[in-house]
């Protein structure tokens, strides 16, 4: 993994490292050469790791008090809120933590889209990331079912019913998912089990995600290949660790604001009503982070096609490295792509807004246009743009633009000797 041989200084360390090279791994992680021009958009990987750990720790503690049974789940959540010591805090961190997790992952994904981080040789990192994102959605959805409120119940009903759109076997699959003829206790207990399992699957995939990242190394804002280690890189520790740490603190301020000042603003009041299989709430809306896909689902008038469109909107991302035909990674040097990028950002935000509005009239029309544009962006604009766009000249190194075109040999030499 590391570009250079590492030998622990102490005899005991060497003895251990010869048998299990954990110290070599630790050394690789601290010395890992990182492009020196990484901006704050690159701090979200660390922030996401923090989010995952937070969700796992708060989730484990909640599971000590929660009861996964249709008759008791709702009351056990209220028990956590009222009786358990700091239960309110742990639950609010967990519930808002899901939103913070998605906020961070969307920034992380859109950073990747802007700087072309999904392109060769980083396709596998990207695809693992999409799988993590899918698992996150599954975990979030099942977690939302556990309090067994009205939104929990009807959200579970609507989402599991998506599978009934599959021809022939759809109904059988839905019955199998439910363990009955409607969402009920068997559904709740299995969702609890899977909700408990998925974060650990994500954790495993995060290790692969980082492993795959450490093979080619980080992309960077100007999107060029960087020689490592060189004057264009800095060691991960302390430079990136400190920068990530600072960004994490800023992020935690936002997180704490939601937890302490407005812990329910991202939820739905209906979920404080216990699940009732006979009454559907007037307005079923998923959590904010699923709204764009919900809008796509609703904008197609056919059930099966609607489900296909919604799933395609996610899976199309996995094909992105091949749909984007441009060899230039960073949007900084792609004047046209940069504009289309921001249109896509706006398009997704519009879809999200339409997903929260009733599917009728003007809302429905706008949602349809936005859905069409979403697919147009990936299936037409990106492939064509790679051939048509006149890109700007890219610098040869990260140092070049800073030092005015000609590499400053003296400075470079200094850096080199510092590294060695």
């Amino acid at each position: 993994m590391s570009d250079h041989e590492y030998t622990p200084k102490s005899k005991a360390g060497k003895w251990f490292n010869d048998r299990l090279p954990l110290l070599t791994l630790a050394n690789h992680l601290t010395d890992y050469p990182t492009p020196k021009n990484l901006n704050y958009w690159w701090t979200f990987g660390g922030i996401l790791t923090f989010c995952l750990i937070t969700q796992i720790i708060t989730g484990l503690t909640l599971a000590m008090h929660y009861i996964a049974h249709a008759d008791m789940a709702f009351d056990s959540v209220e028990h956590i809120m009222r009786d358990v010591n700091y239960g309110w805090l742990i639950r609010y961190i967990h519930a808002n933590g899901a939103s913070m997790f998605f906020l961070a992952v969307y920034i992380h994904i859109f950073r990747s889209l802007f700087y072309g981080s999904y392109k060769a040789p980083r396709e596998i990192i990207w695809i693992i990331g999409i799988v993590i994102y899918l698992l996150m959605m599954a975990a979030a959805f099942m977690g939302y079912v556990l309090p067994w409120g009205q939104m929990s119940f009807w959200g579970a009903t609507v989402i599991t019913n998506l599978f009934s759109a599959i021809p022939l076997v759809g109904e059988g699959i839905v019955t199998w998912l439910w363990g009955g003829y409607s969402v009920d206790n068997p559904t709740l207990t299995r969702f609890f089990t899977l909700h408990y399992l998925i974060p650990f699957l994500i954790l495993g995939l995060v290790v692969l995600h980082i492993w795959a990242l450490h093979v080619p190394g980080n992309n960077n804002p100007i999107g060029i290949d960087v020689k490592k280690p060189s004057k264009d890189t800095v060691p991960f520790h302390p430079y990136i660790v400190i920068k990530d740490g600072f960004a994490l603190l800023m992020f935690m301020i936002v997180f704490a604001f939601f937890v302490f000042y407005t812990p329910n603003i991202l939820g739905h009041a209906d979920n404080y009503i216990e699940a009732n299989p006979l009454v559907t709430p007037a307005h079923i809306v998923p959590e904010w982070y699923l709204l764009p896909f919900y809008a796509i689902l609703r904008s197609v008038p056919d059930k099966l096609l609607g489900v296909i469109a919604m799933l395609s909107a996610i899976f199309i991302l996995a094909a992105l490295p091949w749909l984007d035909t441009s060899k230039i990674r960073s949007a900084v040097f792609r004047p046209l792509y940069k504009q289309f990028y921001w249109i896509l950002v706006a398009d997704v935000l519009v879809l999200g807004y339409m997903g929260a509005m009733p599917a009728e009239g003007l809302y429905l029309l706008i949602a349809r246009v936005a859905t069409a544009y979403y697919f147009l962006h990936f299936l037409v604009i990106l492939p064509v743009l790679g051939f048509k766009e006149k890109t700007l000249p890219i610098p040869l190194s990260i140092t070049e633009p800073v030092l005015g075109g000609t590499p400053n040999l003296a400075a470079a030499k200094n850096k080199e000797s510092f590294k060695a």
Partner: protein
């Protein structure tokens, strides 16, 4: 060596893999099937309902297998309305006669065939039901008329035990 030997090996390998796959499948099946409805869920398969208190033009909702079942006592006007529709124009063509055993009583599973919400009584553009989730309109026979739902609301298996009692399931 002779040319036969590697072929024999390949065959043995392939046969071993095949048995392995079958074995894995056999072991996996109980783990998959345990998620299907269990015996206690299936045991709740039928329920009897007393209809004597339902007035014409009213709908009652009862629970059957965890799902709401709508039982509507239709007025003569409503029956006439349901039967005046040109079946060929429907999204899911089905005549009212096919959907009821006794025209006065419409018995159907009160679940929207789109994504499973419970439609609201006496709402929508067709004087029947309206699903608030994604805007499907059903007529007074429970047939889909407008919106994303693909089929009419499902009719459960039921029979009249006597004039005032039906057994669902």
């Amino acid at each position: 060596m002779s040319e036969k030997k590697p072929k024999r090996r390949e065959f043995l390998f392939t046969a071993t893999y095949a048995i392995g796959v079958v074995g894995a499948g056999v072991v996996a099946w109980p783990l998959i099937d345990q998620m299907n409805p269990d015996a206690s869920v299936k045991a709740l398969a039928s329920t009897e309902v007393d209809l004597s208190s339902v007035k014409p033009g009213n709908t009652i909702t009862i629970m059957w297998r965890g799902k709401p079942v709508f039982i509507r006592r239709r007025t003569p006007d409503e029956i006439a309305e349901a039967r005046a529709v040109n079946v060929k124009e429907l999204i899911d063509p089905e005549s009212d006669e096919e959907r009821v055993k006794n025209p006065e009583w419409l018995v159907m599973i009160g679940v929207c065939t789109h994504l499973g919400c419970v439609p609201l009584n006496d709402k929508g553009d067709y004087n029947g039901w309206f699903c608030p989730c994604h805007g499907s309109h059903y007529d007074i026979s429970g047939r889909i008329r407008k919106g994303p739902a693909p089929t009419n609301m499902e009719i459960p298996k039921y029979e009249f035990v006597n004039a005032n009692t039906i057994k669902i399931g």
